[in-house]
């Protein structure tokens, strides 16, 4: 069992948790993920590591409540325990001094982009970061991102904070105005698809971190497979980062939607159970 040492409600749907996991913290690097399971009936869900503290022996995760599993996890408090916390999984981000890089984090994708931006900054890159969300409430870690970036652009879809724009707009402007050597984009699949489409005409290498459906997270099930131009790859074992220009985005989006009906059913059941519990 893995104890929750800290919890922060970032917004109605975004929660941060600090988990006691000294062995994982010892090894974790930017770009890797963990598999989390709330209790004995729970699903195994992959979450990219948002931060780690080797001295304190902790891993920080940030998740958005999108389904039953994440909603249930959101109800846990400091002192509660998670049934499974396995990692660090996947390959770490390839970090070197590329020159000038852009790190794009959309929505809950701000969490995994943070340790990557930090590592790139430490490696000597000029880091320009773009963070965005649907509205002000869904933004977080602006201060942390600012601290590891040479420049930070903040935008919201509805203009409730920062610039009213999708992340692709400032990204395109940067590509037009400056020499950009590499781009990282992490967020919802649709955002990553359009970031890939934005950078492709400029020929700038672009890395995305894919969050597909997984079970074991170690290469055993193949449920996470993604179609690249050179063939299928497993996100868990070969990734989670890939060349954005090689990904078959439409297939990826379709595969993410495959269990939508079941997810809806599980949420309805969960909400019903919560109501019943509130009554008793």
């Amino acid at each position: 069992m893995y104890k929750i040492l800290g919890k922060k409600v970032l917004s109605d749907v975004n929660k941060l948790m600090v988990i006691e996991a000294p062995e994982i913290a010892r090894k974790a690097r930017a770009g890797q993920f963990v598999i989390v399971r709330t209790d004995e009936h729970g699903e195994r869900i992959p979450l990219t590591i948002a931060d780690y503290d080797r001295d304190a022996g902790t891993i920080t995760i940030i998740f958005q409540e999108v389904g039953k599993s994440t909603m249930q996890m959101g109800t846990l408090e400091v002192g509660d325990e998670l049934a499974t916390f396995a990692g660090p999984l996947g390959h770490p981000t390839e970090i070197e001094n590329f020159g000038t890089v852009v790190c794009v984090g959309g929505g809950v994708g701000i969490a995994p982009i943070y340790p990557i931006a930090r590592a790139l900054k430490e490696a000597g890159n000029t880091v320009i970061s773009i963070i965005g969300a649907r509205n002000k409430d869904l933004l977080f870690w602006e201060d942390k991102m600012r601290a590891v970036s040479d420049e930070l652009i903040v935008c919201t879809d509805d203009g409730s904070y920062g610039r009213k724009a999708l992340v692709t707009e400032p990204l395109k402007e940067l590509l037009e105005q400056r020499q950009i050597d590499r781009v990282w984009a992490i967020g919802p699949a649709i955002m990553m698809k359009f970031c890939a489409a934005t950078t492709e005409p400029f020929g700038v290498p672009t890395i995305v971190s894919l969050n597909t459906i997984m079970i074991d997270g170690t290469g055993m099930c193949g449920g996470c497979r993604v179609q690249l131009t050179e063939g299928a790859k497993f996100v868990c074992a070969d990734g989670p980062e890939f060349d954005a220009h090689k990904v078959d985005w439409d297939l990826l989006l379709a595969r993410q939607r495959f269990y939508l009906d079941e997810e809806k059913q599980a949420v309805e059941q969960w909400e019903h159970e919560c109501k019943m519990e509130a009554l008793t």
Binding site: A83, I215, G219, Y259, E262
Partner: protein, 481 residues
Amino acid sequence: MTELTNRERMKIPRQEMPTQDPEIRRTNYDEVALGFTPELAQQEADRCIQCKKPQCMEGCPVGVLIPEFIKALREGDIAGSIRAMKEKNNLPAICGRVCPQETQCEAMCVLGKKGKPVAIGRLERYIGDYELIHRTCPLERPESTGKRVAIIGTGPAGLTCAVDLGKAGHEVVMFESLHSPGGVLVYGIPEFRLPKSVVHAEIDYAAECLGIRVRTDAVIGRLYTIDELLNEEGFDAVFLGTGAGLPSFLRIPGINYNGVLSANEFLTRVNLMKGYRFPEYDTPVKVGQKVAVIGAGNVAMDAARCNLRLQALQEMEGAEVHIVYRRSPAEVPARAEEFHHAEEEGVIFDFLTNPVEIYGDENKVVSGMRCIRMELGEPDESGRRRPIPIAGSEFDMDVDMVIMALGTSPNPIVFADAGGLERSKWGTVVADEDTGRTTKPKTWAGGDVVTGAATVISAMGAGKRAAADIDGFLQGEIDPW
């Protein structure tokens, strides 16, 4: 009671094990084979004529003292029977259920020459189940040698190796990447064939007796490398029993559509994650109405039979499960009983058929499968007749789910930073067959990670041989490197 003569013994018919009726069992997830009653076990044990030169043991990969355990059972000494069993096999409730006895011990039984062999597997299961409840002869933990062994993987090979090393007095820590120990016994083999309660009871019993520590959620290669275990974590030896977990997919168009999945994914969702009880358990499993399972090994049979049950639980109409296999019934690699049970339960077999393309709809969900008919040519290197496509024989199958059960290869994650560990071009670890020694000092391997996908019992045999060699090394009797 007067002693039976051999002639009398040979007249006793082989006792059938009670099973759930096919019509009923295909609608539930409970175990199909119900096990011998004490009376049936006695009758069956009485059939054994106690050969002077028993052949049965020759057929057993772990050398179970078959005549001894049956003799004790015959005499009503069940504790003695279990003691004889545990000389060589500490997991009888598992082996009795999943070993291919018809090609091993029972194939060698002299009674099989003129009639039917002694049902050794069913007797093994009988005493194994008895022991899990009554604990007549717990394994004894000798004084500690002070030596520490890391066992990577908690499947059949690792479990067997761990128990034998524990019995020798070494301190054993097992590392499991998933949240539950047992490996393929838990994620792969379905509940109705091998109840998970049996697997957990066997593991807990042995681990408790011998003080073996089982660490779940520990992905070796990521959390610790093999080198770190040996050089920093204070282990004197490492045994690698990580199996063959990486699924293979056909290289045909449409293979990544929704609804095409590996048997590993399907079985893991159903067995390990208990998807058949969704939404009580959170992991969903899709149920196809017309399902094609590609391949005809044990894993294919398991996947097909799980599908039948899921369809029945949902009371799905017009439901079909096909096994699509490129060779003929004679080449089916599955255990005879599994093939038989699958047929009984209504799986449709499409032999000499091979998929060439999977069709998808506008949502990229499987909508059909194009196949080609095959014929058998000359035997290939495996000794089986090679299937050859018949030109122009393509046809379409109406399916909405395709499950790939084409075999698996070792998962490479564990090999991270394992310098000096030689592997074959198939990704399997190169290890000596008799000792399990790899090319890397202090590192042994056995089971599917060495052989590629094989059987539970052959993995157990490899775990056992490696344990003996590791023990010799730790006692300072041998230094192979």
